[in-house]
Amino acid sequence: MPHQRRLWIVLLLAWSLGPLLWQLYTSFCSDQALVAPLAATPERWTLAHYRAVLNSQPPFWRYLLNSLFVGTSSTLLTLVIALPAAYALTRLKPWIARPARLLLLAAALFPYVLLFLALLEVARSLHLGNNLLALSIPYAALSQPLAILLLTAAFRDLPLDLEDAARLEGMGLWQRLRWVLIPLIAPATTSTAILVFLFSWNEYPIALTWISDASLLTLPVAMARIAGSSIYSVPYGAYAAATVLGSIPLVLLVLVFQKSIVSGLTSGAVKG
């Protein structure tokens, strides 16, 4: 039994990491080695791809910074709006709260790609294109359904007595949220924040249509641009190097916040 299990674990790891490891391998291979991987090539290993990626114009870390900026601002905006809304949903009468939750669930299920065209027109008419801060507005909006549902579940789990006690201590609504309720749901807030950050970091179609200035591209769009630069010959070596560099922050994020991500996704599944 344990032997069989070990086999399954190895298969799972190979399936999850294999494609990434192949990118890692590719990123260090010289172009000759890529074309003929089995033949004996004199200069097999090289850092040339990394050099090319880091020295390109704009340099690669620029995209990482852009994504970091969009991810952070979207996450903050999402939480600022979703926290009070989630609290309100737990305190409103059921005849408002229940339909609201159903609508949120429907919105969370909706394939948001279909919204790109209308959002593009919004960006055009309000001149929000090529503005990373403005990009966080649709991101925060698209994150609302999931964020509100997750945070609502967390608020609902708090004992009602705690808020009553805070009221008797003389705390108004904002003080209760600030000193008691929001600190108490910190774990749920953390996992929500990470999920929203991941979404904003990875989002493609809206970033693709809102941002055209090369120095403002987010990571996913920049990566796709490399692919689109030529249909016939993609610079796979350089691309693999970019993949590796672009994956490192996310891999670290997942490894560090694994518990939060899992609890966020699972509590969404259990309570949503």
Partner: protein, 323 residues
């Protein structure tokens, strides 16, 4: 007169869960609210605290009408059944938070918190989180928080129901002394009539959202207005004899005595209570409970009677007491 409830009512949907409640509690008096679950006793506390709005009537606190005043402004010292300590804050921070919110200067806050910690014998626990405390310690923190509020009234919602029986008995005198020290009215909710009699100067019995009777423990015991109060107050429970179709006769187990011309009975079961013993008797009128001195031997034949002045007669339909 420091708390006065006039014709208080509270609805849940179309249903009245509390109605026509009239109560006064004076400074330095402890009134216990008792009744089975769902009788409206916790609702009464929540209305006084302002946590729920009253649908009818008015509440006066310290000579002031507070019926429309939000909970935040009412100055209530409340101890919850769950204690409702903020789990993310240390004991000291739990006590400090309310003072900070009310804008009291930091030195003053430190002084008050350390005073109350000392008074509650919690100094060593100041830096601990509530989860690290024992049940008794949590209860003392909850009480300390209520004391620091400098309240106009203390409201206690089953404050001891989460403690074990021994600790509960030990704490009663201490709790009574602590809350009555600053001469404020105390409202004490419990479902345990024993605790109510031990803690309270007067007891109010609630039943289905109505005030059934209010009085001192001995008044309720000796002179219940209804069958409900008679069965609710006093353990072992009062004996009920259905003598005729229109009335029910109640006799306390303590009032039964062995007498030659009494009802013939057979002993079915005997419980030792320490200083006394409790007999379960099979009589022509049904099962009787009887309390006797511990040294009493079981006689050959048992005949049981009572004095006429120990009889309590109730209407069989309404449950009201016949006078």
């Amino acid at each position: 007169m420091s708390l006065r409830l006039s014709n208080i009512g509270r609805r849940a949907g179309q249903q009245w869960i509390l109605r026509h409640l009239e109560l006064t509690v004076s400074d330095g008096e402890c009134l216990a609210l008792v009744g089975p679950s769902g009788c409206g006793k916790s609702t009464t506390l929540r209305l006084i605290a302002g946590l729920d709005p009253a649908d009818e009537g008015s509440i006066e606190l310290g000579e002031r009408d507070v019926t429309r005043l939000p909970a935040v402004q009412r100055r209530i010292g409340m101890v919850f059944q769950s204690y409702a300590l903020f789990p993310h804050l240390s004991v000291a921070d739990n006590l400090d938070l309310g003072l900070k919110i009310r804008g009291i200067a930091i030195q003053e806050r430190r002084r008050r918190v350390s005073d109350v910690l000392e008074r509650m014998r919690l100094q060593e626990r100041a830096a601990h989180k509530p989860a690290q405390l024992s049940g008794g310690q949590r209860q003392r923190v909850a009480l300390a928080r209520a004391l620091l509020r400098d309240p106009l009234i203390y409201l206690m919602d089953e404050p001891m129901s989460n403690l074990d029986a021994q600790l509960r008995e030990d704490l009663r005198p201490e709790l009574r002394q602590l809350v009555l020290r600053d001469q404020k009215p105390v409202l004490y909710v419990t479902h345990d009539q024993h605790e109510a009699m031990a803690m309270a100067d007067r007891i109010a019995v609630l039943h289905q959202g109505r005030l059934e009777q209010i009085g001192t423990p001995s008044e309720l015991y000796r002179d219940p207005v209804s069958l409900f109060v008679a069965t609710f107050i006093g353990r072992p429970q009062i004996n009920l004899l259905h003598t005729d179709s229109s009335s029910v006769l109640g006799v306390r187990p303590e009032a039964l005595q062995l007498q030659a011309d009494g009802l013939p009975c057979r002993l079915t079961h005997l419980e030792w209570l320490g200083a006394s013993q409790l007999w379960y008797l099979d009589s022509p009128q049904g099962t009787l409970r009887m309390v006797l001195a511990a040294d009493r031997r079981v006689p050959e034949t048992i005949r049981v009677g009572w004095r006429p002045q120990d009889e309590l007669r109730f209407d069989a339909v309404s449950g009201r007491r016949h006078r």
